[in-house]
Symmetry: C2
Subunit: 299 residues, 2 copies
């Protein structure tokens, strides 16, 4: 058995599986304090193992920023999150001790990117960017089949984008105010118009502004990373028409600067929805778990 945890700032999703495609038990619960949350993780895996068999390894796709450099003192720690109680929490060590298995770990969005790459909309590509637009905005990249880490790891939501001319909203990011996340995450969408994002109708100007920011993001990803495909997931992207609006605005603004159409036939495969929907992170965590199995480590 292998285990997966998609640890988000809002909820933890846990799964026990016999392989990446076969989840035998799963559960999710809100992210509260580290002690309480990890105690629920432990209970889930204890129960699931009794029923399905012994865990060999765990994959963790975790909200960030996180320490991924195994040579650094903060490897396996959550770094400076505003999430109460979690800053500098050594989550990898806590899980290894609690569950007694090797833990492979990466950011939540890198996990989702890995899931979509091997089992979802990224199949057949050699590079992709996965973006989630939800409570926050985060992104992960796969290049030549490998997760991009670099010095620390990408924090794509915190890129800077031009303001829409009709938008005076101050921005929602506690660190940067009006970075991309500050202007276009779910809470910003509601806060800007003083209403719940879910209640914004299809003809509300909110969606043109939202598509404008997401098209800037896609331009910046194209300009900097030149991925083969950009996969836009997360709760906000489920709004009907937003993906198409984003594609249209991207085309207008990038002005055919690179021959994307010639390469791809259609922009629909360049900027697309995830195939695994909200399972991408869990599938990615299972792929991480496969890499941490004792036999694959000793190979």
């Amino acid at each position: 058995m292998i285990g997966a945890i998609e640890a988000g700032g809002t909820k933890f999703c846990c799964a026990l599986a016999s392989d990446r495609n076969t989840i035998l038990a799963s559960a999710s619960f809100p992210t509260t304090s580290p002690t309480e949350t990890l105690s629920r993780v432990r209970s889930f895996f204890q129960e699931a193992q009794l029923k399905h068999g012994t865990l060999q390894s765990l994959g963790l796709a975790c909200f960030g920023p996180v320490g991924l450099d195994s040579n650094s003192h903060d490897f396996g720690h959550i770094l400076n999150t505003p999430k109460s109680g979690w800053a500098h929490y050594p989550i990898v060590e806590a899980l290894r001790t609690s569950l007694g298995v090797p833990v492979a770990f990466d950011t939540d969005v890198n996990g989702a990117a890995l899931g979509e790459f091997h089992c979802g909309a990224g199949r057949g590509h050699s590079s992709l960017v996965y973006i989630t637009v939800g409570t926050g905005i985060g992104g992960g990249a796969i290049i030549d089949g490998k997760i991009l880490h670099g010095l620390i790891h990408p924090e794509m939501g915190h890129m800077q984008v031009p303001r829409h001319p009709d938008d005076n909203y101050r921005g929602h990011c506690p660190s940067h105010g009006d970075c991309l996340e500050g202007l276009a995450c779910g809470p910003a969408l509601g806060d800007r118009w003083n209403m719940a994002a879910e209640t914004l109708t299809g003809d509300h100007p909110a969606w043109d502004i939202q598509a404008d920011y997401l098209s800037s993001m896609c331009i910046n990803l194209t300009a900097v990373l030149s991925p083969e495909t950009i996969i836009l997931g997360g709760g906000v992207m489920q709004y009907p028409g937003l993906l198409d609006k984003t594609r249209t605005r991207f085309l207008e603004r990038f002005n055919n600067y690179l021959p994307l159409h010639e390469r791809l036939g259609s922009l629909d495969s360049y900027i697309q929805s995830p195939e695994l929907s909200n399972q991408a992170g869990t599938v990615g965590a299972l792929l991480l778990a496969e890499s941490a199995r004792p036999e694959s480590v000793s190979r």
Copy 2:
């Protein structure tokens, strides 16, 4: 002998060398029509070979966009450049035919990135971004020791950045108006203030605005690519104090979101000048030429 051409939109720089460190002859001339320019390239290499020995291979670091995908019909072509006569020009085939040697080729900025990575400020790193701020703005990335290509290749100058609040300049990019290149390339700097960029004094507000745009660029590179170092080259970066202003503004705006200081000690090594100055492209082209030598191809 190996040969290098750094083919820029303004000038062509040619070099004949016995290895990446030993240039025996070099010349540069303005980029005019393809026919005239390539005829001067041919003359240079004919003369240099008579004196120093026979060319085995050529490396070409070329202004773009260019076709880098060897499976595509436009491989080795310059794509939709506004540079008169050069759009869709099959430069690789023209050089191979003219000089009778294998040609390895990449973008000018990828060449410079490769040069700095192996022989300059990027030594000892596993990833970097190289940016040139001059007539245009371009950038190349090395990730895990390899040039980043992706679907086509990065076009970092065409990312979108927020406007400085005091800047109403319409932007200089023929395709996008006020993308990064449109707002912060050398010609934009002069055009905005109606004076030659070289005559702007150190206390002119131009430099705060310029540093603002370059700091947005560095934030976006950090957010998307997480490189180990960002190397800022090109004519505009030689302005005294601009690099420091850019670092300071980057720090203020990124607000210590990632523990760069902890990882690096100082931001001076994160955002830095090239070591090869204006030779980075030529050194990169020599490295490309080494990879195209007949014996290295047959290995």
